[in-house]
């Protein structure tokens, strides 16, 4: 699709609030008529991005091009787009009819035309009988519909939706997802939808933009995003998955859980550490061992409605999650098989922690403002000089009590990798450390951090 098909182009957009960068160099184009979803956990900057597009705040740098013009400084009332707000923001002093007619009256549309359009919009969202109702007499779902009708009444080229379904109960949300999708087809305009719900994103979108900490991680169709996540974050955020440490042995050959597997990925190089993602439904499980690539023992089997969720301890002591239509007996020996195209190989974002340090004396370094003991640095390291140090993920010692560590931090994220946990520790100074550990921690746990002197390596 060519450039002329882009309704919105976002170039190098950045935004900070009080010193924190909320959006970092966002580049994105949106096609005419597309249903695009911006997906990410809370605090990833998705709502900020939507507010910049809507005009409710202005970017620090970058441009938002709509119909060939940079609108990043245009006030919201002059932008040809409308928004469905998270808490609907229906005007409580106006009834349903006047809420929907609000934009049309401002635009001085003739009275009979307003009447026609308001009725048409209310009919479209099945709220025809509610014209004279007060806003607070409506249920959440009904308010939602009125908010959509109000935003669509202005006939915008682009509709922005800020987590519009998050306040609804599960059943209502499912219904509204289908209705919104149908509405999108009927109207033929561009929808930009913001959500933290990956299932919602997969169901509704033509294109998904996955965001994390102010950056776009991946842009693609729901199928692409699900089947070929570019990194461990996307894989973990979208759907259930087994994420495992692996080594790319050569093109089309990868080793993980102690076995070599054929895969379809090339160009990673030889003997390179990577991550692999295997969706639970892509592992074939059978009662006999003949024809299996590896074996294991069933540790749990839970009925989930359509399928069974099975946990297996493999022959090399890795835990895998598998989904299958058939139940397997707990404790039974099973064989498993993974097809080459179902193995998604991803680059590791990094293979060890690397950070700046300051030399204090021959055996001490200052890292993140605290003093760490290290092996003798040897000649050529003056006190006060700067060095770069590396610490492997599995060489960081976490303590239950904050006071027992030299640094302390909070478990910001955790990921089970088959035989160990991969933790993201946000230390009190704001920097991140990645830690591999066999101990079980919870998100939000406060931990003390220690590093043995021999594990601090000077790398430059």
């Amino acid at each position: 699709m060519g450039k002329e098909n882009h309704i919105i182009e976002i170039n190098h957009l950045s935004k900070s609030y009080g010193g924190t960068e909320v959006l970092k160099d966002i580049n994105l184009y949106i096609n005419k008529g597309e249903f695009i979803t911006i997906l990410g956990p809370s605090g990833c900057g998705k709502t900020t991005l939507l507010r910049l597009i809507g005009g409710f705040s202005n970017p620090d740098s970058g441009e938002i091009i709509m119909d060939g013009k940079d609108i990043s400084g245009t006030p919201p009332h002059l932008r040809p787009l409308n928004t469905v707000f998270q808490k609907y923001a229906l005007f409580p002093h106006l009834d349903v009819y006047d809420n929907v007619a609000f934009g049309l009256k401002l635009a001085h549309v003739p009275e009979d035309e307003i009447d026609k359009r308001v009725r048409k919009m209310l009919k479209m969202v099945s709220m025809s009988d509610y014209e004279d109702r007060d806003i607070d007499s409506l249920s959440g779902g009904q308010q939602q519909r009125v908010a959509i009708a109000r935003a669509l009444a202005n006939m915008p080229k682009v509709l922005l939706l800020d987590e519009p379904l998050s306040a609804l109960d599960a059943k209502m949300r499912k219904d509204m997802q289908i209705e919104l999708k149908e509405l999108h087809k009927k109207m033929g305009i561009t929808f930009i939808f913001v959500t933290h719900d990956q299932e919602e994103a997969l169901t509704m979108s033509d294109t998904i933009v996955v965001m994390k900490e102010g950056r776009i991680q991946q842009i693609g169709t729901p199928v692409d995003i699900y089947n070929e996540p570019v990194n461990e974050f996307v894989a973990n955020f979208i759907g259930e998955s087994n994420i495992l440490d692996a080594t790319m042995i050569e093109d089309r050959k990868v080793n993980f859980i102690g076995h070599d597997f054929e895969c379809v990925d090339e160009g990673f190089g030889n003997d390179v550490p990577v991550d692999v993602v295997i969706r639970p439904e892509d592992i074939y499980i059978m009662k006999q061992l003949a024809g299996a690539q590896f074996s294991g023992k069933v540790t749990s089997c839970t009925f989930k409605g359509v399928f069974y969720e099975i946990f297996v301890q493999t022959d090399n002591d890795y835990e895998l999650m598998i989904q299958d239509y058939n139940p397997f007996e707990i404790g039974s020996e099973v064989g498993m098989l993974i097809k080459p195209q179902d193995i998604q190989v991803m680059h590791k974002s990094c293979t060890r922690n690397e950070m700046d340090a300051e030399v204090i004396d021959d055996t001490h370094l200052r890292i993140f403002g605290e003093e760490f003991e290290c092996k003798s640095l040897g000649e050529g390291h003056e006190a006060g000089s700067k060095v770069r140090v590396g610490v492997n993920f599995n060489k960081i010692d976490l303590q239950d009590n904050q006071e027992d560590g030299i640094l302390w931090g909070e478990v910001a994220n955790l990921l089970y990798k088959g035989d160990h946990y991969h933790l993201l520790i946000r230390i009190d100074t704001g920097e991140d450390l990645l830690v591999d550990t066999n101990d079980i921690w919870d998100k939000g746990d406060l931990v003390g951090i220690k590093i043995a002197p021999k594990d601090i390596k000077i790398i430059g």
Binding site: P76, H77, T83, F85, F91, P92, H93, D136
Partner: protein, 257 residues
């Protein structure tokens, strides 16, 4: 034996009975008695034929309306600026606006009168209104500020999103949604202005008499019965206005949720 919770309220009921209910009953009793203690409607009917009292009443209402209008015109923008994070991010400014309320109104009024004397400004309607606005402005600002401060910004954003320019956002959204604050501001300014007498006494040297002044004069010259009748009439009028606005306020508060 445990003391039941409602027994704690006895002291307050006793207080209310002595200082609110009893005086009210006394006012009502005096209003319907002549000097000899016989029941009569004469005091009430006398007001409606007493052109002096009727005129003063009209002047009082006029001054009260003017004062309320000026307070609203000055107070609303002040409250809006105070509640707007863009212009004011500290509570200190808000407190500075409220600070005059901590000083006794009588002292402030006396000081204002002295100031006018010193500056050689002739006392009259102008100085009266000045004193009243000075005294009552915080009572207008505070309730409006409260409502504006709590108002969800998404309403204004939604209006702008639908094509309203900042002026239209203000008149079509901000003002209607702050109606509850405006109504209580008006009540808190209008009602006490009708009955005030100290401000007019000090700032006009009694050149302009207000309804409160007449009541005070009657009582000072021992015409308790007529004074009581006037007080009762004022009470009823104020009560009626507050009842009217109470209903409206309730509707608005429900709507503002």
């Amino acid at each position: 034996m445990a003391v039941r919770r409602y027994t704690w309220s006895y002291p307050y009921f006793i207080f209310l009975a002595i200082f609110a209910v009893l005086p009210l009953i006394l006012v009502a009793v005096y209003a319907f008695q002549d000097a000899q203690g016989h029941f009569t409607f004469a005091n009430v009917t006398r007001f409606f034929s007493d052109s002096n009292a009727l005129n003063t009443f009209a002047v009082s209402i006029e001054v009260a309306i003017e004062n309320t209008l000026i307070c609203l015109l000055l107070g609303y923008p002040a409250a809006w600026i105070l509640a707007n994070k863009k212009y004011n991010s500290s509570m200190v400014t808000v407190i500075l606006f409220m600070l005059p309320m901590w000083v006794n109104a009588l002292m402030r009024t006396l000081a204002t009168a002295e100031l006018f004397n010193m500056l050689g400004v002739g006392l009259g309607k102008g100085t009266l209104l000045f004193g009243m606005v000075y005294d009552y402005l915080p009572f207008m600002i505070y309730p409006i500020y409260n409502v504006l401060n709590k108002m969800d910004n998404s309403y204004a954003e939604a209006a702008a999103d639908l094509g309203a320019n900042p002026m239209q956002v203000f008149w079509k959204i901000t003002v209607p949604l702050s109606k509850a604050g405006i109504v209580s501001g008006i009540l808190m300014v209008f009602m006490p202005t009708v009955s005030t007498f100290a401000i007019s006494e000090f700032l006009t040297n009694n050149k302009i008499k207000l309804f409160g002044t007449i009541i005070q004069e009657n009582i000072n010259s021992s015409m308790w019965n007529y004074g009581a009748a006037l007080a009762l009439i004022m009470l009823i009028i104020i009560g009626l206005t507050s009842l009217l606005s109470d209903n409206e306020e309730k509707e608005m508060e429900e709507g503002a949720l």
